[in-house]
Every structure is written in C-alpha cells, then in structure tokens.
Amino acid sequence: MSTGHTYGSIVVLGVQLIAAAMTLAAPFQARADEPPRVVEITAKRFEFTPKEITLKQGVPVTLRLTTEDVTHGFFMKKLGIDAVIEPGTPTEITITPQETGTFTTICDHFCGEGHGNMHMKIVVE
C-alpha cells in the first residue's frame, strides 16, 4: 500500500536522520560511558601525519601513535603529553584538553638529522 509504504519511508528516513545527527554530535557530546574518540597519528623521519588535528576542550580523546621507522617521541607539556613511540607497538594516550589554543607537539626522541624540525599542531577549540 502506498500509504503504508510512505509511512514506512518516513520512519526509516527519520531513524537515519536521528542516527546521522547522533553521529555528527557524537564528538561533541561524548557520554561518560562511551570510549573516547581515537585519533591515529603516524610518525616517520622527520614528520607526523597528519600535520594538524583538532580536538575539543574538555572532551577526552585517545591518540594512537605509531611509527613507520625508528623510535620517536611525542611531547607537548601543556597538554600533558610525553610519550615514546616504539616500532611495532602502537602507543595509546588519552588526554582531555583543558586549554584552548594551538599547541606545537614535537618529537623529543632524537631520530636523526631532521629531528629538530619534526613537529605537528594540535588545535584545541
């Protein structure tokens, strides 16, 4: 029946819209019992990928760090980040940024000639 089909379509569409809205809102309204959003960051001499990530103030996030070559560091004092990234084993750190701003995060484990300029930005909004 066309009416039934229409009602059914509306219901399905409504569910999809609600799901989509929840998906969009999820990063901003993470519930306490939900695991933090995971952000993947890859290190290799002498850069991080991506070069910039954006986090929300007060919202926990897990940074999953991997290296494609040698041991690297991942350091940003103001965000409480001080990690070592070993080859073959992802390093996970969970932080809850309390301060907004742009934070230059560096490799602080000497990794070779270009080490001094190996960094990325973490933007907290």
Binding site: K77, V84, F103, T104, I106, D108, F110, G112, H115
Partner: protein, 332 residues
C-alpha cells in the same frame, strides 16, 4: 679578621661576551679592607689551593661535518675561534665545549671521522685543557657509545683553581633528560662542597623551560637545579639554542653560548625554528666571532677592543656594581 674562610668574599666569576661563545674571568676580589690577600694566604696554607685569577672559554655547537645551507662555511668558524682564543692577550686556562661537537651522520664510519676532525682542530688550542660534553647530534643516536670511545665519559666533574666544574649529559638518553643515574651521581659529587663553593655547570640543553616547543628544555632540569639550590655561586653554561641568552632563577645564572655553525632566531619574535639566513657579506654574523667592541670605544685604550662584561653569579654585587672590579688591567 675572622678565621672563617669564606670563598664568597673574594672569589668571583665575570664573563665576557666574546661570542667564541664566551670568555670568563675568575679573579680574587680585593676587599676594601685589604683582608682578601690574608684570606687567600690562609686558604692556600689550609688546603694547598692557590687562588690565582684565571679565565676560560666556552665554545658550543661546532657541528663538524655540517656543510650546507644555511651555512656553507663548514669548520671555518670553529677554526677561526681557535685562532681567536690562541691570540688572546691573556690566554685562558681552559676551553669548555658545550655539545654538538659534530653533526650526526648515519654513514658508517663518518661520525667517527667527524669526531677525529673535531679533535684535530681543537688540539690546536694553546690551553691547559679542553673539556667537552656531548650534544644530541654527537650522542643521541647511539646512546653516547661512540662519543665515550673517542672523548671519554659524557658527564664528569673536576676542580680548577678553586672552582668546581661539572659537565652534565642531557642528550645520551635520546630524550632531553639527565636521568636518575646521573642525578644520583651529581648529588654525591656536590655533597663534599660547602654552600659557598663556586660551581660552574656546563651542559648542552638548557636546564629550564626556555622554549619546549623547540625542544629547548630538559625534562628533569628542575631536579638538577634543586640539587644545586643550596649552593650560592652557581653558573650554568649551555649551548643547543645557537644564540646568546641569559636567564636567572633561584640564584643561579644560566647563559647560552652562540653556535659556531649557524644561528637560530629569537623564539619570542619568530614562530618557526629556522636558522637565520647566511649572509655572504658577513659570513660570521651571529656566530659571535666579531671582534668585541671597537678600539677606543667607551674609554678603552686606543688599539684595544672593549669587552662587554657579564656578571655570572655574584651575590654581593648584583647588577653592574662590582663588575669593574673584575676587569683585568690591560684587557684582552
């Protein structure tokens, strides 16, 4: 006069910005009551320590092996510094080198060749001794193994004419830290000194948070300075930042030496950590190898360069008061 021997009353350190990176003079302070000579004689009699004025030089970041943009000069600035030191009218007793003697290389055997080249050039120095500590470009990739083979321990202490010198390693653990083993050694080393002992620490990275985003810090630098806190005459000399910088905290004075390869900009005014561009018309600009001052300037005798005096740690004579008491007759 009191029998109590108080070094603080007559032994002082003054520094000169020569950009070699810096030359320091240690001289007995002649007290207004003329008693200092008597104090010196008593100390000599007591422990055999003859106090004579002396000077030393701090050089830093020679990066032997680096040869390219932004500085195509290779070892020319380093060699010029050696010649400058050898040409000083009053030759310093010691030269301290605060790290990054060589630029790192992963080509087999190359780093060792660069270290030998450093030794070859530094051996021309006509001084009593050259004391080095490593930078991350010397020791960050192999935990300091090659450095120890070529130069010896990465941290150590020695005494020279009443001043206690401590070389600290904040690079060999790959991260900017001194580490618990070295902290325990430092605590033990310091325990035999009275609070008034003149202490000069030389290390590579700053022992305070100068600019962590540029890796200009030592993560356990506060632990080092806490161990040094009871001592009243502490000067920390470091390199790494390739520019002159002064900082005072907790009674200790921290001074960075210029590099002998290229200069970094002022992080307060520059966002990016990029070396200052090379100026072919002024190839040694910002490396500090300029002649200090100009003959005849500021009342100096004709034909002699003026020098900018910097107090290091002088508790009794803060500011510029007393500085002129340490200027040696004749200058450098």
């Amino acid at each position: 006069m009191s029998d109590r021997v108080d070094r603080r009353s007559f032994l002082k350190i003054a520094g000169t910005t020569l950009g070699i990176g810096a030359l320091y003079s240690v001289a007995p302070l002649l007290g207004a009551d003329g008693a200092a000579g008597e104090v010196a004689r008593r100390l000599w009699k007591k422990n055999g320590e003859r106090l004579k004025p002396f000077s030393f030089v701090q050089m830093s970041d020679t990066h032997v092996g680096f040869n390219g943009a932004p500085d195509p000069l290779g070892t020319q600035a380093f060699e010029r510094a050696v010649d400058t030191i050898n040409g000083l009218r009053h030759r310093p007793d010691l030269v301290l080198v605060s790290g990054d003697l060589t630029h790192d290389s992963e080509k087999p055997g190359e780093q060792a060749l660069r270290m030998r080249r450093f030794q070859e050039i530094s051996s021309r120095l006509k001084v009593e001794a050259v004391h080095c500590i490593p930078g991350e470009h010397d020791a960050g990739l192999d935990g300091g193994a090659l450095y120890r083979d070529v130069f010896g321990p990465t941290y150590y202490a020695f005494d020279h004419r009443g001043v206690h010198f401590i070389g600290l390693d904040n690079v060999s653990l790959a991260k900017p830290e001194v580490g618990p083993e070295q902290l325990a050694w430092l605590k033990k080393d310091l325990s035999r000194f009275p609070a008034t002992a003149p202490i000069v620490v030389f290390t590579h990275r700053p022992l305070f948070d100068l600019k962590p985003e540029w890796e200009w810090f030592t993560s356990d630098g506060d632990d080092v300075m806490n161990l040094l806190a009871p001592y009243e005459n502490v000067t920390v000399l470091y390199g790494h930042i390739h520019r002159h910088h002064e900082h005072t905290a907790g009674g200790a004075r921290h001074l960075a030496a210029r590099s002998l390869i290229f200069a970094f900009p002022d992080p307060e005014t520059t966002a990016d950590k990029k070396p200052l561009p090379f100026d072919k018309d002024q190839p040694f600009k910002n490396l500090g190898l300029r002649i200090v001052g100009e003959p005849g300037a500021r009342g100096a005798a004709p034909g002699r360069p003026t020098i900018d005096e910097v107090e290091l740690t002088m508790r009794e004579f803060s500011g510029t008061v007393g500085v002129n008491q340490f200027l040696k007759e004749g200058g450098y």
